[in-house]
């Protein structure tokens, strides 16, 4: 094991939903195929390990690196993606966290504490994917860091209520449908609209085992892409109306300026369902569904406001769980830091002793050359004395270093020792 990390601390440098608007974050986002190239560039600037976490809410480089060159490489890499560069470059949108703060930051990210939707679980998978995509370049410290980050995320979700309930309109739609149908697996859904929101909500339904039977849209091309991905069939809006007689869930999210699901179009069709429940999730603004449809006894109609109410309630409940989640993050940060602090202690102590012993041996040899009248027994005494003296001198620093490492304070002390005794970082 090298002691390289001693000079190169853990850093996170990046942007997130708090520091950069969506259009900037979009530009900084890296696809999985771009990750190795981006990391190679940063590592060429001196980082010994790197993981790139890029989601719609954040682009973060986790590095084991010296401060300046590697961080400069990140800012430069991100800056190249901006259409118009502000005076401060990409760093104007970003942040840097170092060492213990960087560890805590990743743990908070993987727990969902740093997400727009507090406690959302998707980030856990994204952290895992980022780690896997960067596996070749991560290095031992970041491997350990990401492994423990996933563990922290799991602990927070199982030991606190941070992930309870549903906290986005799309997932709230799934929850509401679940309150009508129970298990959603095997239920059928038709999707009106093919925008991002429709796709996201349809994906949420599909993840629950709902069969997406139809995707209806004004333009067929986009509908076909979603339908193919989710296993449904793309149709025009007019072809969709008869299916209101059989589907369990209708998800509406078109960009139409007025209601498209009207009483005239589907009233009679829904009436023929013989009491079978129909859940309509209207995610469009302006609304896609005529509110009069909800008067039908077996129709449960929810618009964006309703779903956001459900999501907001879940978020409010989740907020109560923040202190418990933060405690877990703090405990785990301590554990990681103790491990990390202890990493370089043994090699440093060895190196320090070796150096001091060299000095001792040289000096003893010099003195003994001048005292050539000494008997072999006396010479041995001097040799023994010098070793005892060295051991005495090094005893306290050795104990202090080991203790600091156990307490997670080893990193700073190691830095000081290496500087004081002129120990160079290994190549």
């Amino acid at each position: 094991m090298t002691t390289g990390h001693m000079e190169m601390g853990i850093k996170v440098v990046g942007v997130n939903h708090r520091t950069a608007p969506l259009d900037v974050r979009e530009r900084f986002a890296h696809g999985a195929h771009e990750v190795p190239g981006a990391l190679a560039r940063v590592m060429a600037a001196g980082a010994s390990g790197g993981v790139l976490l890029s989601t719609c809410n954040r682009t973060e480089f986790y590095l084991v690196a010296d401060d300046e060159p590697a961080l400069e490489a990140v800012w430069s890499l991100l800056g190249e993606r901006l259409s118009s560069t502000p005076s401060g470059g990409a760093r104007e949108y970003g942040y840097i966290a170092r060492d213990r703060d960087a560890v805590r930051h990743l743990y908070r990210v993987s727990s969902g504490l740093d997400s727009i939707i507090l406690g959302e679980s998707q980030i856990q998978g994204q952290v895992r994917e980022a780690w896997e995509a960067s596996r070749a370049q991560a290095g031992p410290v970041l491997h350990r860091l990401f492994q423990t980050a996933l563990h922290v995320g799991s602990r927070v979700r199982t030991e606190t209520g941070l992930g309870m309930g549903t906290a986005s309109a799309a997932s709230a739609g799934v929850a509401v449908a679940g309150k009508i149908f129970g298990d959603l697996a095997g239920r059928s859904a038709l999707i009106l609209g093919a925008g991002d929101m429709a796709e996201l909500a349809a994906t949420c339904l599909s993840d629950q085992g709902v069969q997406i039977t139809l995707v209806a849209n004004r333009t067929q091309e986009r509908a076909r892409a979603i339908a193919e991905r989710l296993g449904g069939k793309a149709v025009s809006l007019d072809e969709a109306w008869p299916h209101f007689a059989t589907t369990d869930i209708a998800l509406c999210s078109t960009a139409a300026p007025h209601a498209v699901v009207t009483w005239e179009r589907v009233g009679t069709i829904i009436g023929a369902r013989r009491g079978k429940a129909l859940c309509i999730l209207d995610l469009a603004v302006p609304r896609d569904v005529d509110p009069a449809i909800a008067q039908l006894e077996n129709v449960f109609l929810y618009d964006v406001d309703d779903l956001q109410t459900v999501a907001a309630q879940a978020t409010a409940r989740r907020r109560d769980e923040i202190p418990a989640a933060e405690r877990i993050v703090e405990d785990e940060t301590d554990l990681f830091w103790a491990w990390y602090g202890g990493l370089g202690v043994v090699p440093t102590i060895k190196e320090l002793r070796a150096r001091m012993d060299d000095v001792r041996a040289t000096e003893v040899e010099r003195v003994l050359r001048q005292l050539d009248h000494l008997s072999p027994a006396d010479r041995a005494q001097v040799e023994q004395f010098s070793q005892a003296l060295l051991n005495k001198f090094l005893h306290q620093p050795t104990i202090a270093l080991k203790k600091a490492a156990e307490e997670g304070r080893g990193y700073g002390l190691l830095e000081a020792v290496r500087r004081l005794f002129g120990m160079e970082p290994p190549a």
Binding site: V176, K179, G182
Partner: protein, 273 residues
């Protein structure tokens, strides 16, 4: 000839312990509606389980004649069904109704006295015990169907009105409640039918042993017909959802009303009716 015996202190004590545990279970169940955090699931199951265990021991020592023992048996069946529905159908909210109902029934049983007041010849005969157990099970299943129906209507109302409060959060999905209602009715009808048949068989074998009052006969037949109708509309007429829930509630309400009316004509705790 009567071999009725005074109720032992052990039976009363066991009932009091069961009552306390059911009361505690009720408090835990209803806590979220009073602004407290929901109790851990393990507690909401373990406490009624412990109550049921104590209750089983108590009921096994009872002579099942009279109002008190019948109510106690009914409460036990209800708690066991509540636990079963939680385990099998994840119908956790059943306890919102079942726990207070069982607590009330055990309380009433204790108040009306657990000693067998009426003639008890042959009351420990296997036929008779089975008759009481199956009839109580049939009635408890009817009560469970009623509870599922009530929960269904409450959840339905919240979902239609787009209210997302405690009922929305804590009550099971509509489909699951509908399924619970159906299962309870379909299982309750054969249980009650068998209970009635066992009573007929028992009457034929031990004629003159246990007097069957006219009111008991009327109520028994009425209950059997109502339950039969509720099953018929669900299974044959394919009623489901809100209509089936209303039918269950109306049926159970009618059975309860008729019982109260008949009991008022012949008050007293020595007989169930």
């Amino acid at each position: 000839m009567s071999w009725a015996r005074p109720v032992s202190g052990v039976i009363v004590t066991l009932h009091l312990v069961a009552l306390a545990l059911y009361g505690l279970a009720t408090a835990l169940t209803l806590a979220p509606f009073m602004g407290f955090r929901p109790a851990p699931r393990v507690l909401t199951i373990a406490i009624p389980c412990a109550g049921a265990a104590v209750h089983v021991v108590a009921v096994s020592q009872l002579t099942l004649v009279g109002l008190g023992p019948a109510l106690s048996m009914l409460a036990l069946c209800l708690v066991l069904l509540q636990l079963a529905s939680e385990r099998l159908l994840r119908g956790s909210a059943v306890s919102f109704f079942a726990a207070p109902l069982a607590t009330g029934l055990v309380g009433l049983a204790l108040l009306s006295g657990l000693a067998p007041g009426a003639e008890t010849v042959g009351a420990r005969n296997t036929w008779f015990v089975l008759h009481v157990a199956l009839s109580a099970l049939g009635l408890a299943l009817m009560a469970l169907a009623f509870i599922a129906a009530a929960l269904y209507l409450l959840q339905f109302r919240e979902l239609k009105a787009r209210r997302f409060g405690q009922i929305f959060q804590l009550f099971p999905p509509l489909e699951r409640l509908d399924q619970l209602n159906r299962v309870a009715l379909v299982a309750g009808f054969p249980a009650l039918t068998l209970g009635v048949l066992l009573a007929l068989g028992y009457g034929a074998q031990f004629s003159g042993g246990l007097h069957v009052a006219k009111a008991q006969l009327v109520w028994g037949i009425f209950t059997w017909v109502v339950l039969g109708w509720a099953v018929w509309v669900r299974v044959v007429r394919h009623w489901a959802g809100r209509r089936a829930a209303l039918a269950s509630i109306a049926g159970f309400g009618a059975v309860l009303l008729v019982y109260v009316a008949l009991k008022l004509t012949q008050p007293g705790a020595e007989r169930f009716l």
